[in-house]
Structure formats: structure tokens, C-alpha cells
Amino acid sequence: MPTVHLVDVCKTYHLDSVAVPALSGISAAIQPDCFTVLAGPSGSGKTTLLNLIGGLDRADSGRIEIAGQVLDALDDDALSDFRARHIGFVFQHFNLLPVLSAYENVEYPLILAGVSRAARRQRVRDMLAAVGLAERMDNRPGQLSGGQRQRVAIARALVGRPALVLADEPTANLDSHTGAEIIALMRRLQREHAVSFVFSSHDAQVIAAADALLPLCDGRLQSMQEGAA
């Protein structure tokens, strides 16, 4: 069973009476334990598609199934709980909570998922160690570099052991060296945690690292290609 199954998904934005079609007729399957890249130029609909897959927005039509659950069937609260349990997010702007330390940021999804304090402690420490930030866990995001912040964000996305991690241009705000490190880290963690990663990027570096490629252009999927494994 694929982790993500999309059937004829459409999404149109409405700007004052002008209809902006962002996605039309997207059908695709994303396999478990895969590093999948959503490639395409700016404005091609990558963010829109990731938002739909992540249950942050609703499609106009079509069917989105994640880990066997049809998202459309869930109300807002159930969808929130579903995100908490099954989906991790990595954002372009890192989106850490500025008032929480690195440790607390990583701990937060576990609190939402109702994990006990003792279990949280172990998992958060392990996760921060895995992203190489064991020494910085008491620092607030403001005291961390961009690369370090994104590592915290990756730890936060993975700590709840989701089925799927979605990353929308996670390296767009990093220099190419740091970006490469982040990609390598995600690739490694994706293998270690046996989780599906879906990324959006128009960065050749990232595309080269992918198991599967979904090329998007003007809101349509070009064709399914297998990347170099």
C-alpha cells in the first residue's frame, strides 16, 4: 500500500473573481520508505500539493489517501489529530517556536501526541543527538544558525515517528554548503527511520538524491520517473 495515494486531485485559488488553477488532475502514488522529490519551477504548484498531502488545506476535488486514511473524511479536529500522529513538517522558514528551546520545540509534537514525560525525554534527547545538536538543546531558535534551526525542525518532524515527512523547499533559505548537509542528514535519517520523505525543490542537488521524482509544471504532473537510487 502506498503511503500517499492521489487520484485526480484539483485545486483552484480564487483571487477576487479571478480563478487561478494551481493543480489539475494530479494522480500519483508515493511508496513507503522512499525519498521523493517534487520538482518544478516556482509557481508550478509544489507548495499547494504538499499542503493538500499534509492535510493543511482541502482539495476542490479528487481523492487523497495517506497511510490508508482518506483525508476528506476527516473533520478539522480529526485532521489535526491525524497530522499530529502521522505527518511531520519541515518548512522553508524553519518555523520553530521562538519562545521554546531546541529541546522544547522537539518535545512539542510528543506532548500533542500524549507521550509520557519520561518517554519524551529519551526520544527528544536521542533525536537531537541524531541531528548533531545534543549540545545546543537549551538554546532558543534565536541563538541558533539557520542550519542548526533546520536540524531542530527535522528532529521535530521525525520525533513523533510519522509515516510521512513533508518538506517544502527546506534548503531554500540556506547557503548551498549547509543545504547539502541538510539534504545528506535527511537522506540518512529517512533510511534510518524507514519513513517516506516528500520534498519540493528545484535544486539539482536535491533531485540527484531522490529515489523518485514527481515533475510538476503549471499544476500538472509531467510523467513518473524513477530516479537513481
Binding site: S80, R85, F89, F91, N95, L97, V99, L112
Partner: protein, 467 residues
């Protein structure tokens, strides 16, 4: 717990704004509590004064209060002693009672031939010992201005008058030093009673309060003219032993107290004496509603067919209700004004917080926090501010109240003849404290409600785009 932590950290993040909002709440609550404490002091103070003076409840003949205050003959209560005994001994009513005492009120004209002056007065025939016990009642622990009635253990012809009456009768020696008083013009010219009006003797009178009938006592003799039950004029020769400040000026200018027997002799002569009221003072004001129906029942059973009615101190002293209502409406107005100010200040603070943190709201929602969680976060933030404001506000109010209460400031309320201490009852007034505190917290939640709701209702993708 994570909500609380997040809320607290977010408040500390924008310290200046949080402090400004907090200050508004603290100042607002302090103002409400101080004015409320001032109102409370006036209300409990005047309640205590009235209850000390008139009791909680009075049994009177129907219509007496409206029509007959100066016509005791028509509104006398027969067999009052037996009736009082019934009230006292009743198993239900008895334990509630602090004092039961009769009173006879009549109008008369007091004259001082030595000074060629006369003055109409309202005479209260009282049991002085019982009245003095009533004056010691102080359920609410207020500063009591009651001075004991100087009739206790005095001769049968002794009377006490208001200072206004003393001034009108030119009993200057009985007035406090420095109070304006016209010396009797007649003194130097015509000498009615021999040599008893020399200035030296008058001066001595100011210290003669405790001196029994003696050298200068004749100077304080007055005659009282009153109508007897049968309509004939009756005159009594009386001795003024003290001029007392009655607080309310209108009363001060009319008041005269004498022994009940003396008053009864004036009105009823050799007939069976009656009274115009039976005063009942309870231990606790709250028992009025329990006591009144029981008294009614007892009156119906043992009143001997007389048409008797029971009035409470509010009915007997309309001024109490008027003052009370005035203070209540002032308090309500001030509280509402401050409530609105806090509502808008805090509402504005919370709205700004929501706008500033839009992308964080999106992040929290993406991580799986429900709408209700977002709402709770902002309500919690407002509530924390509110709690801090309430705690600091109460402390500030208690501190300022202590300062005011120790300052010794005084003022004379309109219509009063006495300068009262300015006091605020904040700490002792639990309803005021609880009401203001819960009101403030209510306003806090109300002002955060709309911003919190708006935050929770945002579309996640729109919120995330704010980064």
C-alpha cells in the same frame, strides 16, 4: 501545562506591552476596590448608626410612621410591657434579639424663660440603659460615632438635647468650646432667676457635664410644653444635662431625649401609660427576614386586637436607602467605566499578539494542535495577565486602603453635622473583593474571546504564508 508555559513565555516576550496592559488592570482594579471600600464603609457605617439608634425593626401602630409621629395620643400601643415580654420569650425570636425596648415620641416646645427663647423639639422618651446597650451594637466592626446617652442613672427630670437645640436655646455652656452660640441677651438686662446667669457660672457649665444638680444647674433648666392625651397642654420642668452631636443636622436641631416615665407622664398623666414604638435590635442584620414574619405572627396572637405593623430600619430611615442607592450607582458607573477601559486595552493587546504570531499559529496547527488549542492558548495568556492584574490590584488596593485608613482624613457629608473619618473597607468586604476580582477576570476572558476566536479560525495555509 504546555499551554500555560507557552502562554507565559509569550507574555514575557513582549514585556513592555504586557506590563502596560497589566498596569491598566492593576490601576483599574485598585480604583474599583478603593471606591468600593469607601462605599462599603459609608454603607456599613450608616447602617450601624441607624441600627444603633432605631433598632433593626420597630413595632408601631399602623399609620403612625406616615401620619402620627407627633401625635402619640392617637397611636399609642397598649399593654406594651406584656407584648415585649412575649417577643423576648419567644423560642424562635428570642435568640435573634439583642435588645427590645419601648419608646414614646412626641412633639413639644422647649422654652428657656431665662433667655427668652423657645424651640420646637421632637422628644424621645427612652429607657436609657437599654438604649446605651443598643448603641454598643457593632456587627460590622465599623468606627462607631455613637456617644452614650447621658441619661443613664440621672434624675427623672434630666434631658439630653441635640447641639442644634442647645444652640437655639442658648445653652452655650453645654456646647463645645469654639462652637458659635449667641449668649442670652436677657442675661445682662433682666434677671429672672436671681444671680444664676453670671458669665463665670456659664463658663463653669462647660465642664459641668458630670456634675449633678448643683450650683450652676439652674442655668440649664428648661420648660417643655406638650399636649396631653386629652388635648390639654402640659408643662414639665426639665434639666438639660448634655448637648450631643446627632450627626444629621436636621435631627440635631430637633432632638431631645428624656426618661420614658417622664415622657409618659407628660402625655398620659395618671392614665395607663403607652408607647409609640417597640424597638427590636437583632444580633445580626441578616436575621431581619427571619424575625419579621415571626414578629407579625406574635403580634397577631398577642397584640390584643391593636392594628400593629412592623417596620425595618430601611423604612424608618429613608436616607439609608437613598445614600446606599446613590453610592451603588456611583460604584456601578465607575466599575463599568473601568471595565470598558480594561476590555479595550486587553482586547487590543490580544489582537496585536494574534496578528504578530500568525505564522506561529499556522505552525502549531500544522503540528496537530486543534482549533480549540489555539483558542485556549490565547485565553490562557489573557487569563494569566488577568490573574497577575488581580493579585497585584488587590495588594495595591489593600496597601492604599491602609494608607488612607491611617491618614486620619475627615470630611462632613452633606446634611451631616459631624466630620467623619475617611475610611475604606477593602479587606473586610468579601463580596466586594470577590465581585471585583471575578468581574475583572470575566472582563479579561471577554476581551480575549474575539482575538482568540479569530486566531483559531484562521486557515492554516494562510497563516503559514505569513512567515
Amino acid at each position: 501545562m504546555s499551554t500555560l508555559l507557552l502562554a507565559l513565555r509569550n507574555l514575557l516576550r513582549n514585556r513592555r506591552r504586557s506590563l502596560a496592559t497589566l498596569l491598566t488592570m492593576v490601576v483599574g482594579l485598585t480604583a474599583i476596590l478603593l471606591f468600593g471600600g469607601y462605599r462599603s464603609n459609608i454603607q456599613y457605617g450608616s447602617l450601624t448608626g441607624f441600627v444603633q439608634f432605631t433598632g433593626h425593626l420597630q413595632v408601631q401602630r399602623s399609620g403612625y410612621f406616615e401620619e402620627g409621629s407627633d401625635n402619640p395620643a392617637a397611636y399609642g400601643i397598649r399593654d406594651y410591657a406584656a407584648l415585649m415580654a412575649r417577643l423576648r420569650q419567644d423560642a424562635q425570636l428570642g435568640p435573634l434579639l439583642n435588645e427590645v425596648t419601648p419608646a414614646l415620641q412626641l412633639g413639644g416646645i422647649a422654652g428657656r424663660f431665662a433667655a427668652n427663647v423657645s424651640r420646637s423639639v421632637l422628644v424621645n422618651g427612652v429607657d436609657a440603659a437599654a438604649r446605651n446597650r443598643m448603641l454598643r451594637w457593632n456587627e460590622y466592626g465599623v468606627v462607631s460615632y455613637a456617644q452614650p446617652l447621658a441619661l443613664e442613672d440621672r434624675t427623672a427630670d434630666s434631658v439630653v438635647v441635640g447641639q442644634g437645640v442647645a444652640r437655639k436655646l442658648r445653652l452655650c455652656g453645654l456646647l463645645p468650646v469654639g462652637m458659635p452660640c449667641t449668649q442670652p441677651a436677657a442675661d445682662s438686662n433682666t434677671s429672672h432667676g436671681g444671680s444664676d446667669n453670671t458669665p463665670a457660672e456659664l463658663a463653669a457649665l462647660s465642664q459641668q457635664e458630670a456634675v449633678p444638680a448643683g450650683a450652676g444647674a439652674a442655668a440649664n433648666r428648661i420648660e417643655l410644653l406638650a399636649a396631653s392625651q386629652r388635648g390639654a397642654p402640659n408643662v414639665a420642668s426639665l434639666r438639660v444635662v448634655k448637648a450631643t452631636n446627632m450627626g444629621i443636622k436636621a435631627l440635631d436641631d430637633l432632638y431631645m431625649a428624656m426618661h420614658l416615665q417622664q415622657a409618659q407622664a407628660l402625655v398620659y398623666g395618671r392614665d395607663t401609660p403607652q408607647v409609640t414604638a417597640i424597638l427590636l435590635q437583632l444580633h445580626r442584620t441578616a436575621d431581619i427576614d427571619k424575625a419579621r414574619p415571626r414578629i407579625r405572627t406574635l403580634l397577631a396572637q398577642h397584640g390584643g386586637g391593636q392594628d400593629l405593623t412592623v417596620l425595618d430600619f430601611r423604612q424608618l430611615n429613608p436616607m439609608y436607602e437613598q445614600t446606599s442607592q446613590f453610592m451603588d450607582s456611583m460604584f456601578g458607573f465607575i466599575a463599568m467605566l473601568i471595565g470598558v477601559i480594561v476590555l479595550f486595552t486587553l482586547g487590543n493587546t490580544m489582537s496585536s499578539a494574534v496578528v504578530e504570531r500568525t505564522s506561529e499559529i499556522g505552525t502549531l496547527r500544522a503540528l496537530g494542535l486543534r482549533r480549540a488549542g489555539i483558542r485556549r492558548l490565547f485565553l490562557c495568556e489573557a487569563l494569566l495577565l488577568g490573574l497577575a492584574g488581580v493579585v497585584l490590584g488587590v495588594l495595591a488596593a489593600l496597601a492604599v486602603a491602609a494608607l488612607i485608613n491611617n491618614s486620619g482624613w475627615r470630611w462632613t457629608p452633606p446634611g451631616y453635622a459631624y466630620a467623619y473619618l475617611i475610611l475604606v473597607r477593602v479587606g473586610q468586604d468579601l463580596p466586594l473583593l470577590l465581585g471585583s476580582v471575578s468581574g475583572m477576570l470575566g472582563v479579561t476572558l471577554l476581551s480575549a474571546w474575539w482575538p482568540a476566536r479569530r486566531a483559531a479560525r484562521q486557515q492554516i495555509v494562510d497563516a503559514l504564508r505569513h512567515s
